[in-house]
Subunit: 224 residues, 2 copies
DNA sequence: ACAAAAGTGTTTTCTATACACCCATGG
DNA sequence: CCATGGGTGTATAGAAAACACTTTTGT
């Protein structure tokens, strides 16, 4: 029996800047769904593993430098691709704000960041994939410190707070939030300060990842 | 460019009986890894989605009736299968105790339940898959009520407690555990009692799944 | 001087934990 | 009558939540 199933990877890449969570989309150059927006992705080659395939497609189509990558889910419905039976392994990625720069691409006419609250129509079943990715992101930032992967290396505390507020779509008490994060001892407070326009300048913090892994080994649990 | 990647599914099916968590394995009938124990699974056919493929393989190879099924992870390392490039979508399943009956199979010489603490050598990368599945099971029973899927419809409370004790590998205070579960209001206490040998007879409980979904919608969170 | 954002403590409420004795049955 | 497992309540400690004013800067 001949196996005609084809395998692709797709990437849901999130970025964050000043209160807005965005996702990276590419405009399709070819049929099917020519000129529709889609998640970056493509066929897996025989000599590369899945992560490599995602990284290759992302670099070919968008030039974006990915900072965190994990597998999301595999979608295998019969009719999800009009070209035939195509199963896709979706990944979930995060980039830092300075990776927002976009470069010309080979496989896509255009690449653009879209606010996750203002999405265009999407090709294939990408709307469903994106929905699941957003839910995963929302769930995961509450029990793993992946929010920092969306922020610059040095950030004012209010950036972190705004990220959680906008991602979880609810108000957060600034004092309680600071208390909780501080108690985890995973942030270093730097000497530097930034003043962004008006208002009191803010201290900068950085996420101490190795300290986090150390504490995690000792049984400390990150939870918001 | 020709795509020669093949796609399989594998199932990690857990069962539970009197303190022991077991996993269902089949002895391979053909090369590669002939006569080694492996997770049930096989090639996905072009006209079936992934869940169907898992269910078909399980019924062909083991005859076990699955009670809960969710996707676990997709494994795509280059060298994971000596037959060439084979990517597998692993699933995670739970069966009730009375589904422990095994039937003769077509693809496997033997099918057997193995205590997860006394596993044989496994074919392919199935040891790695099983490890991830066990971690997922341990993690998931603490924030979703999937433990009930491993118990009979009616069960004494101590069964639930023993399940958690053996799965999480730590002592649980009986009174506090009862208090927590009771506060969720997801169990119905039945009139019936069972006495299993010596000791005071135990009331039977049943998991009220629709009430759970109702409460979940209202924001109640299951957590152990 | 005022608008804007940063920074900071205390009290109250709720939840988690620790802990030990009586009950109903079978042998 | 005793061995076995089932069933139950209270007190304490720790964590989460509620809550408002002062500080520093730019304009």
């Amino acid at each position: 029996m001949k196996n005609k199933i084809k395998l692709t990877v797709d990437a849901v890449v999130f970025g964050y800047e000043s209160g807005d969570v965005s996702v990276l989309l590419v405009k399709r150059k070819y049929e099917p769904y020519k000129d529709a927006w889609a998640l970056p992705g493509g066929f897996v080659q025989e000599n590369e593993n899945l992560e490599r395939a995602v990284e290759r497609e992302l670099s070919e189509e968008t030039g974006v430098k990915i900072n965190y990558l994990e597998q999301l889910y595999t979608f295998g419905d019969l009719a999800r691709d009009p070209r035939g039976r195509v199963v896709t392994v979706a990944y979930f990625g995060l980039v830092k704000p300075n990776a927002f720069k976009l470069t010309a691409s080979t496989d896509a006419k255009e690449t653009e960041w879209f606010n996750i609250k203002k999405l265009p129509k999407l090709a294939f079943d990408h709307k469903k994939i994106l929905k699941i990715a957003i839910e995963r992101l929302q769930g995961k930032i509450t029990y793993e410190p992946i929010g920092f992967e969306l922020l610059d290396k040095k950030f004012p505390f209010s950036d972190l707070e705004k990220l959680y507020t906008s991602l979880l779509d609810r108000e957060i008490d600034r004092r309680n939030f600071k208390k909780k994060i501080s108690s985890l001892k995973i942030l270093d407070e730097l000497e530097e300060k930034v003043s962004v326009g008006r208002g009191r300048p803010a201290s900068l913090f950085s996420f101490n990842k190795s300290r986090y892994f150390q504490l995690k080994k000792e049984g400390i649990i990150f939870e918001i």
